[in-house]
């Protein structure tokens, strides 16, 4: 299934890209998607192993099981305002 990962701020600087599209097996969790992208090489290996994530614009746990077309955002500590 197709999953889109999004990177912001400091994580984008590490990843070197805004987003990555991954093809992952059914049943993959958010944690497994993060592990996969950290193994992807280059700067992504410096992403934290347990970042905050949002699945489809909602804060979600790392054990969340992903579905086809999900948007998984890795969120650095926020600093709005």
């Amino acid at each position: 299934m197709r999953i889109r990962l999004l990177f912001f701020a400091f994580y984008r600087d590490l990843a070197g890209v805004d987003s990555l599209d991954l093809d992952l097996p059914e049943g993959t969790t958010a944690r497994q998607a993060v592990d996969r992208v950290r193994a992807h090489g280059n700067g992504t290996s410096r992403l934290p192993a347990e970042p905050a994530v949002a699945v489809n614009q909602e804060i979600a746990g790392l054990e969340t099981v992903l579905n086809e077309g999900d948007e998984v955002a890795l969120l650095p500590p926020v600093a709005g305002g």
Binding site: F8, A54, I59, A73, L75, P76, V78, A79, G80, G81
Partner: protein, 149 residues
């Protein structure tokens, strides 16, 4: 819809935000603006870059505004957060609210700014006079409102 929220790349002026609030039933109007400071933690700042996960930020802003409306029932509430490159003195966030009585105007504005800082997927990078650029530390993004005091 009495609450209006927006993420924008355009400069925020107080007039337009205030135009969105105030009814003949209101005895209080409050405007809060966050602005970019010239100094932070002893360093000289030349500007600030705000990044956001825009689609999620708009949902979170709407949720925060809705919580404030449920709790304090303001007549009108407008919240605008700016993103992009801001100069010192520019407004990064504006919250305008109007209420029949003053206590609720203060409570709503304070709630909205505190929740923005806890939950909005926005990040800021300070630019210093040295040319250096640093992403500021923040909070692990919270999923839900802070418990009522």
């Amino acid at each position: 819809m009495r609450a209006n929220v927006r993420v924008t790349r355009d400069a925020i002026g107080p007039g337009r935000v205030l135009d969105g609030v105030g009814t003949p039933d209101d005895g209080a109007v409050l405007l809060f603006q966050g602005t970019v400071r010239r100094h932070n933690e002893g360093r000289s700042v030349t500007g600030m870059r705000y990044d956001a996960y825009v689609s999620m930020a708009e949902r979170v802003l709407a949720a925060i505004a809705d919580e404030a409306c449920q709790r304090w029932d303001p007549s009108r509430l407008a919240v605008v957060h700016r993103i992009g490159e801001l100069a010192v003195g520019e407004t990064s966030v504006a919250i305008a609210v109007s209420t029949p009585h003053r206590a609720e105007a203060f409570d709503v504005a304070r709630y909205v700014i505190e929740e923005i800082k806890r939950r909005l997927p926005v990040w800021k990078q300070e630019h210093y006079t040295t040319g250096e650029r640093v992403w500021l530390d923040g909070h692990a993004p919270a999923a839900a409102p802070a418990p009522h005091e």
